[in-house]
Symmetry: C3
Subunit: 340 residues, 3 copies
């Protein structure tokens, strides 16, 4: 990005005080601003930084009046925070729209169709009979198996693996080295103590606006589909077992694991390093605290769980508080025994 302060002020509908010809190339926090950066001041707790920052420009609220001389150009807008957010988004779009076309060598299998404005990075692999939508970005080293469908405007980052027959919606973002549709953990014990592999022939469906974090793994279904519903957001290093279903707009933090055939409802908020047993049904709006272990169905919407094994959040907080004082409780019991 390279714009003048004037151009940015026009974009944001703001007025400039100071040098409006300076070139802006980057966004920065006010305390880290360097020449060429634009920053913002919203919370006046940080006002002192305004008088020391080296940022070329700072976006401020229209109501704001500096108390000391400022070396940066100031852009006055209605709401400095949302103006800066708007700028973040514009900058972000510019970056990702820059990637278009095909770098060589890259691999495209027979019978695969690729939409307009697609980016296919060097060493990317698309198998046979795939349908890749418009404006999809497939970064270097991404692997798309056979018979995969990917909707418009989806971003597939480097090293992502999407196995055969998976279906990815529109506006999805799949971060580096995530694995979608690998065979789940299905083994039938044999009389001699060994295990026989149960073939896993299903796929994974990601509906629209799903995010999948780096190095997250989503296993395909044994038959049918593992499904991640519209708007769900999965962080890094998460494990999703075969035939799992994650509800609409459910958010899951890093390193959580969900065992096979469990169905998580809509609008749930699951913290990091949580574990779910298999074959559970979890109601809409369930909230689960970090490192909890959920072993039972949740039937009531909006339940908050915590601890391992998980139970009600409030109850668990009380039990945990006494856990820390267990030596004291034991002493009180000893005292009672002596005084008897």
């Amino acid at each position: 990005m390279k714009f003048t302060v004037r151009q940015i002020a026009t974009l944001l509908g703001g007025e400039v005080a100071g040098n409006d010809t300076l070139a802006i190339t980057k966004l920065a926090k006010i305390e880290e601003g360097q020449p060429g950066d634009i920053s913002f001041l919203s919370n006046l707790k940080y006002e002192t930084h305004l008088y020391t920052t080296q940022a070329s420009a700072v976006i401020v609220d229209r109501s704001f009046q500096p108390k000391k001389p400022v070396s940066s150009a100031l852009i006055f807008v209605e709401n400095s925070y949302s103006a800066f957010t708007q700028l973040l988004e514009e900058y972000y779009k510019l970056q990702s729209f820059a990637r278009v076309g095909v770098e060589q060598p890259s691999y495209l299998g027979e019978g695969s169709q690729v939409g307009e404005q697609v980016y296919r990075g060097a060493f990317s692999y698309i198998g046979s009979n795939c349908q890749i939508g418009r404006n999809v970005k497939i970064y270097p080293h991404a692997y798309i198996g056979n018979g995969v469908r990917i909707g418009d405007n989806t971003i597939i980052f480097p090293g992502v693996r999407i196995l055969d027959n998976c279906i990815i919606g529109q506006h999805c973002v799949i971060h580096p080295n995530a694995v979608i549709g690998s065979e789940g953990f299905g083994f039938a014990p044999q009389p001699d103590g060994s295990y026989k592999t149960i073939p896993q022939l299903g796929n994974v469906i990601l509906e629209d606006n799903v995010n999948v974090g780096s190095n997250t793994t989503i296993d395909c279904a044994t038959l049918g589909s593992t499904i991640i519903r519209q708007g769900a957001k999965l962080d890094n290093l998460i494990q999703i077992g075969h035939n799992v279903e994650i509800g609409k707009n459910t958010v899951i933090a890093a390193q959580t694991g969900i065992s096979g055939s469990t169905k998580i409802g809509d609008n749930c908020v699951i913290a990091g390093q949580v574990g779910f047993a298999g074959h559970l049904t979890i109601a809409n709006g369930t909230r689960v605290g970090a490192q909890s272990g959920v072993g039972k169905n949740v039937t009531e919407e909006g339940t908050s769980l915590n601890s391992s094994p998980a139970f009600g959040l409030k109850e668990s907080m009380r039990s945990l508080a006494i856990f820390r004082k267990l030596p004291d409780l034991e002493r009180r019991v000893s005292d009672l025994e002596k005084k008897k």
Copy 2:
């Protein structure tokens, strides 16, 4: 796959009632069956689906008699469940046998030998002096370092990294982005507070019939070998430290971590998100519950452990039950103190 109902019935040794010329292309659950699908009915709890399914064919037990009209063709066999399982396996084999030959560009280092019927995907890398057995499938973006040996019929999925001098057995399956033989976490503290790397020169040995899940990491030994014994099954996102040994037919669920030099016995069943400290010896047939933390040797075969730190499963269940009622226990102690 494309077979007629008649061909499938012949394969399974069954008799057909209905249209035996329909084409079958996919396997499906009875409640999700679409035209072109074949399904099965074993548990009569699901019998109602038989009268509504759109599957072209359904496999049923010879003893079964429909109570209403059925639009699907029926294939009568001795045991519908095992017939369907047989079909799953056949279908699965068809899929993986389809991959043979070399896609370009791919890299093969000097002095490496590759067996017959091998698949080497585009952008796959095989270093120098490797021995790759017969019918091995090396998917795109797989990395095989120098001096690696891989046994017959093993599948190396996309993005797998096998570092120098590792030895992989026959009939192994290594899922996408798993890392085998990377340097373990060996650092010697120095007087100034920094750490010096301890060179890790060993390798990893996977015996026959081992499965390694997606994004699982297995560190090489400092000297000698980290060993995964015959028939062991590792799920996704597992960490295996340097010089660890995993026994024959031991099964480990996702996100479990095993610290350096620990030896896990044969036929163990380890649940997900479990942690093992280093330098432990765990007896054959040990079972460990999810999210447990094992910090001590297990000497007795068939022990069941649970909780963090782990102790006997039964004892831990009793302690956990009281943990949930700790506020109540504390109140009872308070009452006793008052009444004194």
Copy 3:
């Protein structure tokens, strides 16, 4: 490596007893030594192996006198353990220095500068405007985005993903499939229950001598930098959130997760499978036990924490000891109630 026993003795400043013309190709533990191997005997607990090993040579202390005939050549040095360590390091350097030059096909974007003695493996990708230092090793399938800087002597293993604008110091080692600089987990809840992505425009800075384990993920900052300070060592499968800072010489074991904006001090030792909440400040020299959950700031240097939620190590050990005897404590309370 291929040296004679004589050449190795000269390197180590030792004297040989036995055949000094034998060729040595590998290092091994004394109990696993094969012809062509060199081993060492330091702890006399292992002396019996000296009389049975098939290693071609064994390094021993100058003060050592064999009690039985030995078939291996012996190399006498001042300190056999440190001599062997020296050999390990030499061998290790030889291996990694062997990789120099460019394998084809590989990708180098416009405006990128690459130093001398660099290795660029087949299918490696370097974007535009990167600066790659002297003697850097970029293995096959590594992805380096645009505007990335990498210092001298750093090793980037296969499948590593370094996203745009990240800065990697000198003498760093980044293990296979690690992801550096992917977008963190930033989503703003919308009135309709969906989430809007907050653009993540910052980068990741790795200072000098940092190690990053296999399949570890380090998210970029929203603005500014996620920073891993000099000499920090991160094991496999670790999650580092956006805007986190890890202090100098801090060591973190496998599968630990650190939520966004948390600052970990210098010289901390964090065990495996630990979780940190976001926006915390953790004092220098803090030690955290395995599977702990840290939810509060740590202000005192050298604090030891344990348990989930974490509190003082000693206190937690006492509480955990009573936890195991909770059924007994409950019985004692029942007895008191009866006797009242």
